[in-house]
């Protein structure tokens, strides 16, 4: 599974890196550091990724199933 952050939608609430600190972190402005990026998730990161996506007030995080 992959996690993607839509950089046009993220406004830096910081909920994702707060609920999933082992997976995500912030940049100097307070946005998640991987805006407009897609990252691969290990099996033990999926729960954290789901928590981050569901906690985003902007719905900027999507989880993409592998083909």
């Amino acid at each position: 599974m992959k996690l993607r952050v839509d950089g046009d939608v993220c406004t830096g609430h910081g909920r994702c890196y707060t609920v999933a600190p082992d997976l995500l972190t912030y940049d100097d402005e307070g946005f998640v550091s991987i805006r407009d990026q897609t990252i691969e998730l290990a099996a033990d990161q999926i729960k954290a990724a789901e928590d981050a996506a569901a906690s985003c007030p902007e719905e900027a995080i999507s989880l993409i199933e592998d083909d």
């Binding site: 830096g12 609430h13 909920r15 912030y26 100097d28 402005e29 928590d51 985003c56 007030p57 902007e58």
Partner: protein, 411 residues
């Protein structure tokens, strides 16, 4: 205040397919009344036309409020108070629309980033510990005046590089401003005087810094005077428009949130005990307080073109009001929406707005609240509300805030 628009006859009960109401959100009421009113409005209809002031639309449910926030090209921030579509002030970046908005935010964001807040946390804790240590032996306090206003003021002023000895002056400005912000015409002169007072303070501040060859360390006014916007320096007017709103937003809001959170803790010993046993839960408890006890009753925007929005015909120039406090407890969006769940998972809310105008000070506000809960419970684990009289809150139009919260405990 102008009268309702002439197309609305007095006996008309619907407008644009919406119920017509006449609601004044500037009145003080018993604490909690504004959330109850938001819930009533939300459950009875998704949208209203309020013929208060010059008239505006109210959207009560989560998805509509979210979409108002996330569609700035249709809903301009030129005015954020629907009872005052042509405000006398112009806050930057609050009232700036895309694409200029993000350029101002880029200048300010690093100053209020989670990194900046983390660096400040040790001194924030030390300051709070000292204030609570002064209060604890008394066995009682008036929480709003003794801590909820004083602490965020001191933190904010130190954050922007203003001597904390200026706190009383700024607190008076903030009180006068928000008295008029909710649309009470009698209080508009005091509001205007407060805005001028803040501006005069900073104009003198800019003059004093004018000859500095480089920005002063830890001094926001000085930083802004040297900041660039599209390869030019910010003008004095821009700097003043920024400093003015930062003072207002930074001092009052956290006071309001802290008041409701501490009334909740006073009334819920089981939650106090849970947070003492599991302090790692404090950030979650604060986040749920921001959802459940949202002080933002609603947020206004100005319609930029004729459109239909959630079935309501809107005309260019009309005002809309997204009922944030209703949206944050909308059962269509949240499970057990009308309960404060201290261990709620995956909390998200619009207490810091949504879309591009997400609260600049959100990271600082959360940390201030977390620090106060943690330092207070360490020194005062048991406490209760010290009155049987009803607690009073300021009208939601200016953001709810309790006038006073007397607390007592065994010293």
């Amino acid at each position: 205040m102008s009268q309702p628009a002439d197309r609305l006859s007095t006996d008309e009960t619907t407008h644009g397919g919406c119920p017509v109401v006449h609601l004044d959100f500037s009145e003080s009421k018993e604490a909690g009344c504004y959330w109850a009113q938001a819930a009533e409005l939300r459950e009875a209809a998704p949208a209203y036309y309020n013929d208060f002031g010059s008239g505006y639309w109210i959207f009560t449910r989560h998805d509509a409020v979210r979409d108002i926030y996330k569609t700035p090209e249709l809903f301009s921030s030129e005015s954020i108070t629907p009872w005052e579509p042509e405000p006398a002030y112009r806050f930057i970046p609050t009232q700036i629309d895309p694409p200029e908005h993000v350029k101002y935010r880029k200048i300010l964001n690093p100053w209020f980033s989670p990194k900046a807040v983390e660096e400040a946390e040790p001194r924030m804790r030390e300051l709070c510990r000292g204030l609570v240590a002064e209060i604890a032996p008394r066995g009682e306090c008036e929480f709003i005046g003794d801590l909820a206003l004083l602490y965020p003021t001191a933190v904010f002023l130190s954050f922007v590089g203003v001597p904390v000895s200026e706190a009383d002056r700024f607190v008076a400005f903030v009180d006068d401003f928000f008295a008029g912000f909710s649309g009470d015409p009698e209080k508009l002169p005091a509001m205007a005087a407060a805005l001028q007072g803040i501006r005069d303070y900073w104009e003198a501040g800019l003059a004093e810094r004018r000859e500095d060859p480089a920005p002063r360390d830890a001094d926001l006014a000085s930083y802004l005077m040297h900041a660039t916007f599209e390869d030019r320096l910010l003008t004095d007017t821009e700097v003043l428009d920024m400093l003015q709103v930062l003072v207002l937003a930074g001092l009052d809001t956290t006071r309001g949130q802290l008041g409701y959170m501490f009334r909740h803790l006073a009334d819920h010993p089981e939650h106090r005990q849970r947070l003492i046993a599991e302090p790692e839960l404090i950030p979650n408890a604060v986040e749920e307080a921001l959802r459940y006890y949202t002080i933002i009753f609603g947020d206004g925007r100005k319609v930029t073109s004729d459109t239909e929005f959630y079935g309501v015909p809107l005309k260019k120039g009309e005002m809309v009001y997204g009922l944030v406090s209703g949206a944050n407890r909308d059962p269509r969006h949240y499970e057990r929406a009308d309960e404060y769940l201290i261990d709620r998972e995956r909390i998200h809310h619009m207490g810091f707005a949504n879309g591009p105008h997400r609260c600049l000070g959100a990271h600082l506000a959360r940390k201030e609240m977390q620090v106060v809960v943690s330092e207070w419970l360490t020194q005062i684990p048991d406490f209760e509300v010290a009155t049987t009289e009803p607690l009073v809150e300021r009208g939601g139009g200016a953001m709810m805030s309790m006038a006073a919260l007397p607390l007592r405990w065994e010293a």
